[in-house]
């Protein structure tokens, strides 16, 4: 019997495991501490803790921070860049901009490959793909021998305009492979055949430096799982919201960067779908930061403008997530002009919030929530006891006394500022896309999301908050829900009205055959394969292009142009029907469908709301309320409870404020409805 699906998501602190049992359609979760020195230990540890027999597993998926961490710490093998003469410094010059606009002492971090390891060869292709200068093979061969002598194990080959003609790059790769067959070689036209040298070069360089390390990790894990009895493909979550097998990770390791962040967003989308919301905001609030994702018309936003560190773009489609410095551990303080501030500094894991009794003296959101009674003193079913007295001391000394407030009033002030900051961040993400958050539902998860969700929603005029069953391990759930996915693209410029449709069809066919080959290589059956065409277009003379879906058949292009006008108006607020539309890029999203867990709704059993496990005083809106505390595991569908109430579970605490109502739905989500008068606030 292989009836288990397992997802393991590695985070900074914990490695989460999600186990779905196909036989009885139930899901269970477990957590083990992460092991940053060798993340695989925690993965295997989590499998053991979850008492998973790998012989019974039909699908094992994995979100990993291995690639992200390697990029941040710059722990790379001996790598080199080979580029066109005159362009050795593209990845160091970048676009010149700074992230910190005003701080002259905060610099953008250095390039992934140092200048001493960047080399030039004579060759040149022009904008149209014409070879201006063929590769100087003597130079190339001499360079290859030198790289070998220098002990280089991975090489990025990035030539100017190679997206238009890869001939010289391909020849360079051949020569490298002849002279140093053990080295890994990434060429820019293969990794990302797109215009703009810095984007393409840096993406290729990222791929090259990650290659041996990431592929090695994945291979080790794959072997271990196989040895332990798992018989399927290890699926690795990538930034685009899909997954890939170890065979493809070898060629495109860079796609594993930001693997974990996408998982939370995917889970948010799943929960929104379950609940029937087309539009939703995911609020994934953890210890140090909050990830905000946006689901509009049932789709997650995808962006190609992202990076692990500012200035080093990785231009693969990625689920768009905005991270802000607001989390359970964010520190409240009074600034030099006497104003109450919250974050972005965080107490981190060490010393952590004051109530952890590890030496922290400044108040965090966690301390404030504890002081207000919103958070109980028992964490994780007694695994940890929080010191309310220390929380109070920190709040009083740092905030209450300087501002002349009562302790509880000060603590509520801390939380109000944190909530307002999160609401402002959601406003910014929404307007960026021309959307109004009041049309959305708010999905609150992460360790701290459910503590704050209802009040953030109130601040935004959002009528409904959804707290999924296991808010603390939602990312792992996301890993369970993804298909194998490849995103391919090619440059193609032509005016749409005069484009040669046969040629266009051939280009798409070529992309499709590459994609089909990749999926076959990954063992995806033809029946499970789904290919989706897309086309990027822009008004002639414009710098900004827009991707729209592309169908097949004779009218496909006309349709796409129509969609382009509509979508342009929706996203950018104007359309220009008289201006010629130019085709810019062709895209193909290739999916290898994996079977999804068949979640079944739980039936209401008509039982009455259980008695609260305790009652305690909780502070809301300037006063203490006698508040019931419920055990989440005891809550069944259709049960309804009026705020104020607190709902406790192993990995999270949900706050149901006064004047709101919480209802348990058939998926065991808590849905908090804010009262009509507040929900309608305009």
């Amino acid at each position: 019997m292989t009836d288990l699906r397992v997802a393991v998501d590695v985070g900074g602190t914990f490695t989460d495991v999600c186990i779905f049992d196909d036989a009885d359609k139930t899901m269970r979760v477990t957590k083990v501490p992460s092991t940053p020195d060798d993340p695989m230990r925690a993965v295997i540890g989590g499998v053991e803790r979850g008492e998973i027999d790998l012989n019974n597993v039909s699908l094992f998926s994995h979100g990993t921070t291995v690639a992200t961490n390697a990029l941040i710490t710059r722990r790379f093998p001996k790598a080199a860049l080979v580029t066109t003469k005159g362009f050795r410094d593209v990845i160091e010059i970048r676009d010149g901009t700074k992230d910190e606009l005003w701080d002259a002492y905060k610099d953008v971090s250095g390039p992934y490959i140092r200048r001493r390891d960047r080399f030039e060869v004579t060759e040149r292709v022009d904008y149209s793909g014409r070879v201006v200068e063929t590769l100087n093979e003597d130079e190339a061969r001499e360079l290859a021998r030198l790289l070998k002598k220098r002990g280089t194990t991975t090489v990025a080959v990035c030539f100017i305009n190679a997206f238009a003609n890869a001939e010289n790059e391909v020849r360079m790769r051949e020569i490298l492979q002849e002279e140093m067959p053990e080295a890994a070689v990434s060429t820019s036209a293969e990794i990302l055949p797109e215009i703009f040298e810095h984007d393409r070069f840096n993406t290729t360089v990222s791929n090259a430096v990650l290659g041996p390390l990431v592929a090695g990790y994945v291979e080790r894990l794959d072997n271990q799982l196989k040895d332990d009895g798992y018989d399927g493909d290890l699926l690795l979550l990538h930034s685009g919201g899909g997954s890939m097998t170890p065979a493809m990770v070898k060629r495109f390791p860079v796609r594993l960067a930001a693997s974990g962040i996408a998982a939370g967003a995917i889970a948010a989308k799943h929960v929104a779908e379950q609940c029937g919301y087309d539009n939703a905001v995911g609020l994934d609030m953890g210890g140090t930061s909050t990830d905000i994702s946006l689901i509009a018309d049932g789709e997650l936003r995808v962006t190609k403008e992202w990076e692990v560190e500012y200035g080093h773009p990785i231009v693969f489609p990625s689920i768009e997530v905005l991270t802000i410095g607001a989390g359970g551990g964010s520190l409240a303080h009074i600034d030099i002009a006497g104003s109450l501030r919250n974050g972005p500094q965080s107490a981190g894991a060490d010393p952590g919030p004051a109530c952890y009794d590890q030496g922290g003296t400044e108040p965090t959101n966690t301390d404030a929530n504890l002081l207000l009674g919103r958070l109980g003193t028992d964490l994780a079913s007694g695994a940890m006891t929080l010191r309310r007295d220390l929380a109070e001391k920190a709040v009083v000394e740092t905030i209450a006394e300087p501002l002349g407030l009562e302790p509880a009033e000060a603590a509520e002030s801390i939380i109000d500022v944190a909530n307002a900051n999160m609401a402002d961040a959601v406003r910014l993400v929404s307007i960026r896309r021309g959307l109004d958050p009041r049309d959305f539902a708010l999905l609150a998860f992460g360790g701290a999301g459910a503590l704050h969700g209802a009040e953030v929603a109130r601040e935004l005029g959002i009528p409904t908050v959804v707290v999924p069953p296991n808010p603390g391990v939602t990312s792992a759930l996301g890993c369970l829900l993804v298909d194998i996915q490849h995103d391919l693209s090619t440059m193609y410029t032509a005016v749409a009205s005069t484009a040669d449709s046969d040629d266009l069809e051939q280009q798409f066919a070529a992309l499709e055959s590459t994609a089909a080959e990749r999926l076959r290589h990954e063992g995806v059956a033809e029946a499970d394969t789904e290919l989706k065409r897309g086309i990027s277009m822009r008004y002639q003379g414009q710098w900004r292009s827009l991707q729209v879906p592309m169908g097949t058949g004779p009218d496909a292009l006309t349709e796409a142009v129509r969609t382009f006008h509509e979508e342009h108006e929706r996203q950018f607020a104007f359309r220009q029907d008289d201006n010629p539309v130019e085709i810019y890029q062709l895209h193909l999203k290739a999916l290898g469908k994996t079977p999804k867990p068949a979640f079944t709704p739980a039936a209401a059993d008509g039982s009455a709301l259980p008695d609260p496990v305790e009652r305690r005083e909780v502070y809301f809106d300037g006063q203490w309320h006698d508040t019931p505390v419920y055990d989440r595991d005891a809550l069944r569908p259709e049960m309804e409870l009026a705020g104020p109430a607190i709902i406790n579970q192993l990995d999270s605490t949900t706050v149901v404020p006064p004047s709101t109502t919480a209802v348990i739905d058939e998926w065991l989500n808590i849905r908090i409805h804010l009262s009509a008068s507040e929900g309608d606030e305009k």
Partner: protein, 660 residues
């Protein structure tokens, strides 16, 4: 530092949460404008982040400026809002929107057009929402409206004094048509006009939401208290700093109407416990090129330069109230006045004022010290593209990244956008090659371009290209610091001069200098120019030899300059394998020799130095860094007055700090 943990009671009359939430909400209301304009703008320059947004109060004072705004607009938006108030007085009504770009009413240059929308609660104005963006063209003599030769604003494009574009919600088609018809791309301009106006409506909606939730009076109080808060923050930050007066001078290269000789910009700074006071009196009269600055931009340079030392402080009129400036009578290079041309201020006085302010604050906050950063440079090649059947007009506008100054604890930042706007992105070569008949031959870090110092200036960049299929093409350059070369402090040395070379290394070689206009070029011509590195910080002879060695391995510094600038002698064992060795004994000797001779070099006969340069015995680095001599870098002709002034400057910034 002032500590408030012992203070009792809140610093605002509002509840601390209400204040903090409203203060942040004002910031969001302004940043929402930025998001909206990025999404809807037409101009590629606006899209490259050359824009700003502000919420002003009912008096025109700025309550909050956008967190991602370009530096060069900072502190000009309240001037423009006040200009609208002065012009229209009581005749401002709900649904009105005004436009203004007037550089003589606190604007920047003609391309930067502001849209200002009053925010009403019933019949009372409670504030103004403003968005300012750089239009790709605003008319005038040349496409893009950067006319290097302009002496008066008439050739720089359309001057928009405060004008109403919407009246009570009704679009004034005739007025808008007049504005956009004076640009080369009316449809695009109309698009930006609409987009900017709509952006201000986004801010208005957000402020009205706050009024609904918190009441009008609370919002009005918060607008004032947000300014007070910033003012307190600045004054509080000054509490631990010494009182006193500091002064410095920086220079433009020349005023062509007056031959050779540097053009001084004098900056005094006074701290007296009440605020930060600048005095720019004594700066040179307006120059005969467009490298002048109006009062708006000069204030912007002052605020932006100061803000660099207070990076966390939000920008609003509370900041501008803590920072006062006497910029002197009209008619100078820093207070140009009508009708002097001002579009080139960005390469002219703007960054001189900023760098001068960096230097002054470096003395007050040594832990945040920084030597001179490279100056914005802007190369314009325009003509007809022979690759197209109808020889379409092309305009290759190009600006580079460059080096920032060495700092008290680390080297300067290499290849970074100008201080004029650190969010302004350089363009990808592959994009440029598609649109223009220019093949870029190199875009690379310039070895030895960073000013030597204990902490080296960041490296500049070199970019070169060749015209492939161009017809009737000319080249212009908006730049500076070909003679007033980016300088070091605390004993650090200058970096490298700006200037464009045509057909360098061939028989047709020609040095065009750092400011020129309409030079004809044709297919096959090659051009190249460096962006300067940053100035060095501290005595280069005190730089750790190991740091010099690392620079040599990465070729930021050559083996030759390691010896000549740093006195570090490096033996090359195997360059291919990065094997080099410091020759400790030779280094000690070289350093001793430089130490004993360098004061004398700065007194050497400049004409003799020029002669050696002309003969090829000395290179640019030697002439500049050792002898402090300024030449026409093409012909080797000596500029005696410029050299004398530059040497005086080097004596102060470099030589006095050398131990011997």
């Amino acid at each position: 530092m002032k500590t408030l943990t012992t203070a009792s009671g809140p610093a605002t009359t509002l509840h601390p949460v209400t204040f903090e939430v409203l203060k942040n909400a004002f910031a969001t209301s302004v940043d929402l404008m930025s998001e909206q304009i990025l999404r809807t703008c037409y101009s590629f320059v606006i899209y490259s982040r050359d824009f700003s947004s502000a919420l002003c109060d009912k008096y025109g004072n700025t309550v909050m400026q956008g967190s991602g705004d370009i530096a060069v607009h900072v502190g000009t938006l309240h001037f423009q809002c006040k200009a609208v108030l002065e012009e229209f007085g009581n005749d401002i009504n709900p649904g009105d929107v005004f436009a203004i770009n007037d550089p003589y009413r606190g604007g920047t240059h003609m391309n930067d057009v502001s849209f200002i929308r009053p925010i009403f609660v019933e019949d009372e104005i409670i504030g103004f929402a403003q968005n300012k963006g750089h239009w790709a063209d605003i008319g005038g003599n040349v496409p893009g409206s950067f006319d290097v030769n302009a002496r008066e604003h008439f050739s720089e494009g359309l001057r928009i004094t405060p004008v109403r574009v919407w009246r009570a919600g009704e679009f004034l088609h005739d007025v808008a048509q007049l504005l956009v018809s004076n640009t080369r791309a009316p449809a695009q301009a109309l698009g930006d006009l609409n987009a900017q106006s709509e952006a201000t409506a986004v801010c208005e909606r957000e402020i009205l939401r706050l009024v609904d939730k918190y009441s009008k009076d609370t919002v009005l109080t918060a607008m004032q208290e947000t300014q007070d808060y910033v003012n307190r923050t600045v004054l509080g930050s000054l509490a631990g700093l010494p009182h006193g007066e500091w002064e410095t001078v920086d220079y433009l290269d020349a005023d062509p109407a007056h031959g050779e000789g540097l053009v001084p910009i004098r900056i005094k700074l006074r701290l007296d416990g009440e605020g930060i006071h600048y005095d720019l009196t004594g700066s040179a009269p307006a120059v005969s090129t467009f490298l002048n600055s109006g009062y708006g931009t000069t204030h912007s340079a002052i605020y932006a330069g100061t803000k660099t030392f207070f990076p966390e402080v939000p920008l609003n009129s509370g900041f501008y109230a803590a920072v006062t400036a006497d910029i002197g009578e009209e008619g100078t290079v820093v207070n140009a006045g009508w009708p002097n041309a001002v579009t080139g201020f960005c390469s002219g006085p703007y960054e001189k004022v900023m760098n001068g302010i960096f230097e002054l604050w470096s003395r007050i906050m040594p832990e945040r010290a920084m030597a001179c950063a490279f100056n914005l440079e802007y190369l314009l090649v325009g003509g007809h593209d022979g690759r197209t059947d109808d020889q379409q007009y092309f305009m290759w506008y190009d600006w580079m990244a460059g080096g920032w100054g060495g700092r008290a604890t680390k080297d300067g930042s290499s290849a970074t956008s100008p201080v004029f706007g650190t969010g302004l992105a350089v363009q990808p070569v592959e994009g440029q090659e598609r649109l223009n008949p220019i093949l870029t031959t190199s875009h690379a870090i310039n070895t030895d371009s960073g000013g030597p110092g204990r902490f080296r200036g960041g490296c500049g960049v070199e970019k070169g290209g060749v015209l492939t299929d161009a017809v009737k093409t000319v080249m212009s350059y908006c730049c500076d610091r070909g003679r007033s070369v980016t300088w070091g402090i605390e004993g650090g040395l200058p970096s490298y001069p700006h200037g464009v070379w045509l057909n360098k290394g061939t028989e047709d070689e020609k040095y065009l200098g750092a400011t020129f206009s309409n030079v004809p070029i044709e297919s096959g011509d090659a051009f190249t120019r460096p962006s300067a590195g940053g100035g060095g910080f501290g005595d280069p002879l005190e730089r750790e030899p190991e740091a010099v060695l690392e620079d040599v391995i990465d070729q930021y510094v050559s083996v030759r300059r390691a010896e000549r600038d740093y006195g570090v002698v490096i033996t090359v064992i195997d360059a291919e394998l990065d094997e080099y060795e410091i020759d400790a004994e030779a280094t000690e000797k070289a350093r001793a020799e430089i130490r004993s001779k360098r004061a004398g070099w700065l007194d050497a006969d400049p004409e003799a130095v020029a002669e050696q340069y002309r003969k090829g015995e000395l290179d640019v680095h030697d002439v500049l860094r050792r002898y402090g001599v300024i030449l026409d870098w093409g012909t080797g002709e000596l500029f005696p007055d410029t050299t004398a002034e530059y040497r005086r400057m080097m004596a102060k910034r470099s030589a006095t700090h050398w131990t011997s």
